[in-house]
Subunit: 309 residues, 2 copies
């Protein structure tokens, strides 16, 4: 089924203990649309880049079935740029440079041809921009998934709360869940975040996997997806985005919205994230085969002794 | 099948953000023999206490099918005592008092009636004492599982390495695995620890679950058991011991030694640990019903979408 993806399409420069890159392509919507393309088509991208963004990378996305009609190209401006450095444990990072550039005044225009989209993935972006996308859709999608980060909790909490009210699923990491809820226990945190709007709460724990919560008055449901234990994590950039991509991509592929399907979807997300961290940027993700993906999903099934994939 | 358990039988005093206790019973072998009794019988205990250890608690263990012939009672001495304080996140703790008392010169005497034991659980204890137990058994048990901790890595590394060579399974936490191996990646850590002797390596990650590794040249096997997401962790003391108890108890119950059985055993261990942390000390563990245990295991099965339990 059709999927609308909004988020940044941008440049990253990354330093890790294993090496560093010059400007390479990154951004939430880049990772999400690329990875979701392995599960569903069409993918309708809404984003903005400057004239400096490489045309061949736009072509690369298109070759994966990503519709770029909603990708605004501001020829005279520069693309969003983030430079960061990962610490030795790869679990924490410092931002060295953030240049908003075209993102500063991003007005997410939805092409008419996107209006029938059934699934909506709001990649990490200013919450007011995420909300504008929802408001500009004439028909509410069947499922709206939102990713966000602590930065917006610090600088735009009120806007974030307004947007949270409108989404079905929110995907955040454990520290962000604790910050947003004021609760240390992730079960309590999920319950409070559920009360803010989303029916489903996904809490990502990096190398410790991810938890999917469906909180009801009568019956809490919790599903746990492990992360694949890896010998090397080469570059974690984009792991959260590719997780979201596998999740929403599989949901759109299946067309059914329930806890069981979402449980499988978090495994698909974890599998995509496990590819992402093996190389810098999008390198590992541009040419995945369906056989590779199936093998990786099999590893997850073995890891938890399950039979569903 | 018969299980021999060696370790401390002792007093603990615990401070947590939720409350504190006076001296209550604790110790690795107390937690292990009590919890393993829900899976297998007989359990043959080898340990030492002072005259101050409450006789009714020894009776309590016996009522669970624990054979205390190998429990030495030094009437004129005092039992081992540990006092600790958990920090607000419950993931770290400070030791306030350690009184070795009877443990200082513990000579683990194996009663003749224990000599046919088929499973051996070496609870956390000085590694030379753990090794003495192995050496005093006339026939090697079918499976030897060893728990240890960072303290022994700091003060008795050489002894620890000698004992490690003799065991089939070692169970340690993530920071200890990193310390012992010098590797940050737990996959690499497990590989190095395997090379020190144990065919199977269990790495406990507290609230993030536990990993079981079987490292072969040709084919690594990894199984992941989540921890149950809890609203409250009341007292983590004994969680690692009860995890080991569920593991070895189930292995002894099943009588089969292979990766599949061990995978189920780590879930059993995780289930027992999830009970342990709900109350202070052994309180939650003294009167578990088989229905409660089955319901708890069902929660783990739901959590990972598996069908085996």
């Amino acid at each position: 089924m059709s999927l609308l993806v909004v988020g940044s399409v941008a440049f990253d420069a990354i330093e890790t203990p294993f090496g560093s890159t010059d400007k390479i392509i990154g951004g939430a919507a880049t990772f999400i649309s690329l990875c979701a393309s392995y599960f569903t088509k069409p993918i309708n991208l809404v984003a903005v880049v400057g004239g400096d963004f490489p045309k061949d990378k736009i072509k690369m996305l298109e070759s994966h079935g990503v519709n770029t009609e909603g990708l605004q190209i501001k020829e005279d401006e520069k693309s969003f740029f983030w430079k960061g450095k990962y610490n030795n444990d790869m679990n924490s990072r410092d931002t060295l440079i953030t240049e908003l550039n075209v993102l500063e005044n991003f007005d997410p225009i939805i092409p008419e041809s996107y209006q029938d989209c059934e699934y909506l993935m709001l990649g990490n972006l200013a919450p007011q921009v995420q909300r504008t996308v929802i408001e500009r859709l004439k028909k509410r999608p069947k499922l709206i998934v939102m990713d966000t980060m602590n930065f917006w909790m610090d600088v735009a909490l009120e806007e974030l709360m307004k947007t949270l009210k409108l989404v079905d699923v929110v995907s955040i990491n454990d520290e962000e869940a604790r910050q947003l809820s004021g609760e240390y226990s992730l079960v309590k945190a999920a319950r409070k975040i559920h009360a803010m709007g989303p029916k489903y709460v996904i809490i990502k724990k990096g190398e410790h996997g991810a938890l999917l919560f469906q909180m009801n008055e009568e019956d809490d449901k919790i599903y746990y997806a492990p992360a694949l234990p890896l010998e090397e994590v080469f570059d974690p950039t984009g792991a959260g985005d590719t997780f979201a991509a596998g999740f929403i991509g599989y949901m759109a592929q299946q067309g059914t919205i329930d806890f069981a399907t979402m449980s499988k979807a978090v495994i698909k997300g974890s599998a995509m994230a496990s590819f992402c961290v093996e190389k810098f940027g999008t390198e590992r993700l541009e040419n995945l085969s369906s056989k590779e993906i199936a093998q990786r999903e099999r590893k997850f099934a073995d890891l938890i002794g399950t039979v569903f994939v």
